[in-house]
């Protein structure tokens, strides 16, 4: 059942990788790439999350049942965010956003 084992060197390497990814994310955010910045930053966050999940949280050596919960959680969040964001992004017939002058404090 246990195919991989998390060892001390692996933990140290993961920690260093997480720090490198953090500074990479910070560096890219200073370049001023506009809209792409957020996408790149979130992609780096996903990679960092995978490192934390599989090494720090020992998912790499656990049963598939535990991974299934992670997969389902991820799918639920993708569903939730995608369907929610589809509304403001595709609204055409209605004012796309409330008039700030009408109610400054929503």
């Amino acid at each position: 059942m246990i195919s991989a084992h998390v060892t001390t060197p692996k933990l140290v390497v993961s920690w260093l990788a997480l720090l490198v990814l953090t500074f990479l994310s910070f560096g890219i955010s200073r370049l001023g790439l506009g809209e792409a910045e957020l996408v790149i930053a979130l992609a780096i966050s996903v990679v960092k999350t995978l490192v934390v999940l599989f090494i720090f949280m020992h998912l790499v050596e656990q049963r598939f049942a535990n991974r299934l919960i992670v997969i389902l959680t991820f799918l639920f969040i993708v569903l939730l965010v995608t369907l929610t964001v589809a509304d403001p992004l595709t609204r055409k017939t209605f004012p796309p956003r409330p008039d700030p002058a009408a109610s400054p404090y929503p």
Binding site: L38, M57, R63, F76, V81
Partner: protein, 210 residues
């Protein structure tokens, strides 16, 4: 170290531990969905007011936010080391590492508190209390409301995690856990890693937005 007791509904200790671990993952999944709803709200309003969000969150201190990211990642590392050493029956070492992690959590809260006091000083407060910019566009106020709500909810999770880490550290020191009884130590570690993962996403959304 007291031996682990097998309760009657399980056939073996291995299955009992698996059940405890699986339940923890399910709990973490539901916690993630709680934050997921807030991330959806963030995406919704950022899609609606892209420029105002950048204007509002540009004001956050990137230096303090990045410091906190490094602090939390390092605390996650010390927790992971602690979980690793309890399996090798080095309970005292685990206790020490968990205490260090708790202190990292305290550092995180102090830095966050400094940030909050800056915001309070400037009246960059949530919703109707906001008076930082005279007559701000609606999106700026929404951005700050989400910032306060999401970081404060995350802060509560940090406090809960610190309490659990401290309790488990004490129990490890007293010799309650060891190589053959450690699923509770592992599960507290899992909770702390979730706190770290949530911050890994809050950091780019609230600090790297310019």
């Amino acid at each position: 170290m007291s031996a682990q007791r097998l309760v009657e509904q399980f056939e073996s200790l291995e299955k009992q531990d698996h059940a405890a671990r699986l339940a923890m993952w399910m709990f973490l999944g539901s916690e993630t969905l709680l934050f997921g709803a807030l991330f959806a709200a963030y995406a919704y309003y950022r899609g609606m007011y892209p420029d105002e969000f950048v204007q509002a969150l540009h004001h956050n201190s990137v230096a303090l936010g990045t410091t906190n990211t490094v602090v939390l990642i390092t605390s996650s590392f010390t927790v992971a080391l602690g979980v690793h050493f309890i399996r090798e029956n080095k309970a005292r070492l685990t206790a020490g590492l968990f205490v260090v992690s708790t202190l990292f959590g305290a550092v995180f809260l102090v830095v966050k508190g400094i940030e909050y006091s800056h915001h309070i000083h400037e009246n960059a407060l949530p919703s109707g209390m906001y008076t930082f910019i005279d007559k701000p566009p609606a999106g700026v106020v929404l951005g700050y409301t989400l910032y306060w709500f999401m970081t404060a909810l995350h802060g509560l999770h940090v406090i809960a995690g610190m309490i659990m880490l401290a309790v488990v550290a004490l129990l490890c020191w007293k010799g309650r856990y060891g190589a053959h009884r450690n699923v509770a130590v592992e599960n507290v570690g899992l909770y702390w890693h979730l706190v770290d993962v949530v911050w890994i996403f809050l950091w780019p959304l609230f600090y790297l937005t310019d």
